[in-house]
Amino acid sequence: MKRLTWFLSALLMLSMLLASCAPAATPTAAPAEPTAAPTQAPQEEPTKAPEVQPTKELSAAEIAAALPRKETLYFNGQQWGPVVCWNPYSSSCNNAMAISQGDNARVTMFETPYLYNMLDGKQYPLLADGPWSWNDAMTEITFKIKPAARWSDGTPVTAEDVAYTWYAHVKYNTSTGASNKDYIEAIEAVDPQTVVIKAKLDADGKAVNPLIVAAYVSSNYVLQKAWTQKLEERTGGDPAKFLTDPAEDVVYSGPYHKFYTDETKVVLVRDDNYWGKDPSMWGKLPAPKYLAHVIFKDNAAGTTALKAGEVDVSQQFNSNVQDLWLKDGLPISTYLPEPPYNIGASLPTAFYNLRSYGLDQVAVRKAIAIAVDYDTIVANAMTNQSATFKQVPRSLMNPTPGEQALYDREAVKSLQWEGNDIEGAKKLLDEAGIVDTDGDGWREYNGKKLQYVATCPNGWSDWQAAIEVVAAAGKKIGIDITTNYPEWSVYQTVVTNWPLPETGYDIFMMWSAGAGPTMPWGRIRNLLSSEFAETTNNWTGNWGGYKNPEVDELIKKIPTMTDQEEIKKAYTRLVEIYLTDVPSFTLMYRPQSFHTVYEGVWTNFPHQGDGTNPPVPPLNLTDGWSIAGLYNLKLVNP
């Protein structure tokens, strides 16, 4: 009996040991040990093994389980679900803390030549040395690489790396390659420090789109040539394998890298040899040693953690955020002290499926749009975390002063609407002959009842509430609108692949582009350009299938315009068309990122009037120029 107990307990310990090896396979710090442990263990005395082994192997996991609070900056609202891979070429790694390319690229682990600052619209050098410049014909961009820039393996970052990254993007048709190759001819290294980006030229010898070429330098990572070649060798030139490689061995240039991940959290750790401590860049290391992101189930769980002081930087919608300091007295604040609390940058928009019955009629589209009570959406759905349409009249621009100045507000004033205009909407429909002919309370168009489903993904609370308000507006003007909330996994496949189903997606919500170097042109193109209409795998915009040759023409011309007056005229015309045709309508203004910070541990976060120059934007201290904020952080109680 005693022997049996001993045997059983030994077996139990052995199995615990084996089980404990599983997560330890991920940390890069101990690559050799996990394979050694199982073979070793049986030879040793089983009682001894569990005591010695786990302390050695689980170090990363154990540290991650109880990170030193004063060295860790906690996030929420960025990472949903576990990390899949660390491959910066892939767009399906679900690795929000490390990989996110775009207008405000996330530069924690990988770096871009320049950092975009949404507050002043400028690009500041990171890997690059000094500003970039066009040649006289505006066909080539030239910039230099900082001599101090180093990869994590100690080798210098060179112009070759920039050129080869582009080469790989095109060769393997990554999303970066696909979306830029119509505008960029080639990226070449003139010498080890000098990069030249050659724009694609049109028939007249001018750059097809200089805006996109210029945006490339702050939106896309530079990746190491040597590592990329290693990856190519490993995957044998197969694009599918190239893009799905987990890339645990990736070489990076940024200040942070992988420390630990599992289903519950992601932890990045600072690289104390980071090149950026060179005086030519930051001159020091970022303050937090660890960047940690606990993976929460939903917004409510994230808010609870924020209230408990377990989250320092919250990138999620916290409803009634002001209650956190007004009612609960917590040391929590947002970028602005008063509503809308953040700087609006994108325009969450309700798209009409223009193939739905009756929605091809401008009168129906405009009637629904002017009947919607936007004040309720702003106050109730967004809990005032959006500017109202009284403050910022609708257009294609986001509420930042820079973009608002780009169109003539007065010229389109007569087309504006502030919403909740039930009588106006009814009149519009009556005049168009769309009336209730059979007396059931609902209007008919050519004898068929107008009946729509308004939809957005389930669980996206602010959008859901907004869609409810849209449906309520329909009821008031005699158009039967009901709501439906499919799961995001279903929703995204339906919405991004034309044709939309006949029912269920008549009015649906999607986002618009936020702030970036190509804005507002890029946003307008996404919303209105026919190049995205009726396409599949469309993650860009114009999901309702709107086509207008005049709009296409303007969108094509604007990037090559240089005269400010001409540009303003073109933008004003676009806004005019948008407000006349109403192919979609903005429901609220939304910040680029929500930026709510907890000051129980760290302080000196970016906020309005914080005196930083250039100003640090409220983008969670990870995106674009906002990473400068990581160097300003201080401990509340050092």
């Binding site: 917004n299 409510a300 604040s333 109730n380 669980g459 009901t482």
Partner: protein, 416 residues
């Protein structure tokens, strides 16, 4: 019949349950007559207004005031803005600003405010002070403005021609408005929800809809269970085998899982309240069927049934006249249980987001769902979810009480 009813109403448990249930039912029926508002009308611009009496500020300025000289009015007014905590916080700031401690007297309001006014600078950067704290002091400073003023507030209107402000009236600090004279007063006993809807009006409507759902679901489930149970029990043989095969099959599958799957596949655009009720009904009849069958099995060989059969009565006649009356009490009890579990099932489904589509009618489950989506439980907005929970609990509790009461009357084993 009268005797049975008298017996039933002698059971304390039944009567308690019955009274609760009937009062709920009466509220559901009478309240809409008193408050005829649309239960889904969005009245509040903002989320989760707390319960209370809302007096129109514009109107109360316009009613003719009464002067009341209440001794502690000023004290209360000051205490509202400047409580012990605020005084302590002000002291902390003044200390940090370099004022010696002996000069700060937090009890003397006038002196404290004077000191504050002289030393507070919103742009002053005090070492180690967080942004949250700085903003707190800015808000505090704003709320203190004019705190000690004794003169009234001036109401002014812009002149239509010149655009200059012209004094309309002065509101003295001792002016009071009688709430009965203010034309616009709205009582929101349970505040508003995340959409700015009156929670009480919505709750009453929702309770009604949920009861409807419960009744429909309960009736369908009981009816199916009763018919199948009667047929299986009385006819026996092949019919019994087939019916029991399906019943047993459904028993093994948890009915809530089945409910989730069916609701999901129907799609939200087609899920009305009655559709959901029907689905609930069609997934919860199995236990009734089995129980009825067991009862019928024991009944069908009784002498009076055999006699009836010998007299040449048809099967339907025998089932209706010789069997059904004997299990009626059981069926009524089963129905009550089915109704209450139907209400719970709807609530469960709606919390998962699989309930009836919104925008048409509120249900108890949908109210819970939205309260949770908007984090009422995290933010401490109890009025958005607690009354809903209490209502659900009251309905099911009253029905279960009635059921237990009936059981005590009809079940000989439990009779005292």
């Amino acid at each position: 019949m009268i005797h049975t009813l008298r017996q039933v109403f002698r059971s304390g448990k039944f009567v308690t349950g019955f009274v609760i249930f009937v009062s709920l039912l009466l509220i559901v029926l009478i309240y809409p007559l008193l408050v005829p508002d649309d239960p889904l009308a969005i009245i509040g611009l903002g989320t989760f207004f707390p319960p209370g009496i809302y007096v129109n500020v514009y109107d109360s300025v316009n009613v003719s005031p009464y002067t009341l000289n209440l001794p502690d009015a000023t004290t209360k007014r000051i205490a509202d803005k400047l409580g012990p905590k605020e005084r302590q916080d002000m002291k902390e700031f003044l200390l940090a600003a370099g004022i010696p401690e002996e000069e700060i007297d937090i009890e003397d309001t006038a002196k404290l405010l004077d000191l504050w006014e002289k030393n507070y600078d919103p742009n002053k950067n005090i070492e180690g002070m967080t942004l949250a704290k700085m903003r707190y002091y800015q808000r505090l400073n704003n709320s203190l403005k004019g705190l000690l003023a004794t003169e009234g507030l001036i109401v002014a209107l812009p002149n239509a021609q010149t655009g200059q402000l012209e004094q309309v009236k002065v509101i003295e600090q001792s002016d009071y408005a009688n709430i009965n004279e203010v034309p616009n007063v709205r009582v929101l006993p349970l505040g508003t929800d995340n959409f700015g809807r009156d929670v009480l009006t919505e709750l009453v409507k929702a309770a009604g809809v949920s009861l409807q759902i419960g009744f429909v679901a309960g009736l369908i489930a009981t009816l199916i269970g009763l018919v199948l149970g009667l047929l299986a029990g009385y006819l026996g043989g092949m019919v019994d085998d087939i019916i029991m095969f399906f019943t047993n099959l459904l028993i093994v599958i948890p009915s809530f899982v089945l409910l989730i799957l069916i609701s999901f596949s129907i799609g939200q655009d087609k899920r009305g309240a009655i559709t959901i009720a029907t689905v609930i009904g069609f997934t919860s009849w199995v236990w009734t069927a089995r129980a009825v069958r067991a009862q019928v099995l024991s009944l069908r060989n009784r002498d009076h049934v055999n006699l009836s059969r010998l007299s040449g009565h048809s099967t339907v006649y025998i089932i209706l006249n010789d069997i059904l009356p004997y299990i009626m009490s059981y069926v009524v009890m089963a129905l009550i249980l089915q109704i209450s579990s139907g209400i719970l099932a709807e609530a469960g489904l709606s919390i998962l987001g699989l309930g009836p589509r919104t925008t048409e009618v509120p249900t108890l489950g949908l109210m819970m769902n939205w309260a949770m989506i908007y984090q009422a439980h995290v933010l401490g907005k109890w009025w958005a979810y607690l009354p809903v929970l209490v209502t659900i609990a009251l309905i099911t509790f009253s029905m279960n009480l009635m059921n237990t009461g009936l059981d005590q009357v009809f079940n000989p084993a439990l009779r005292e």
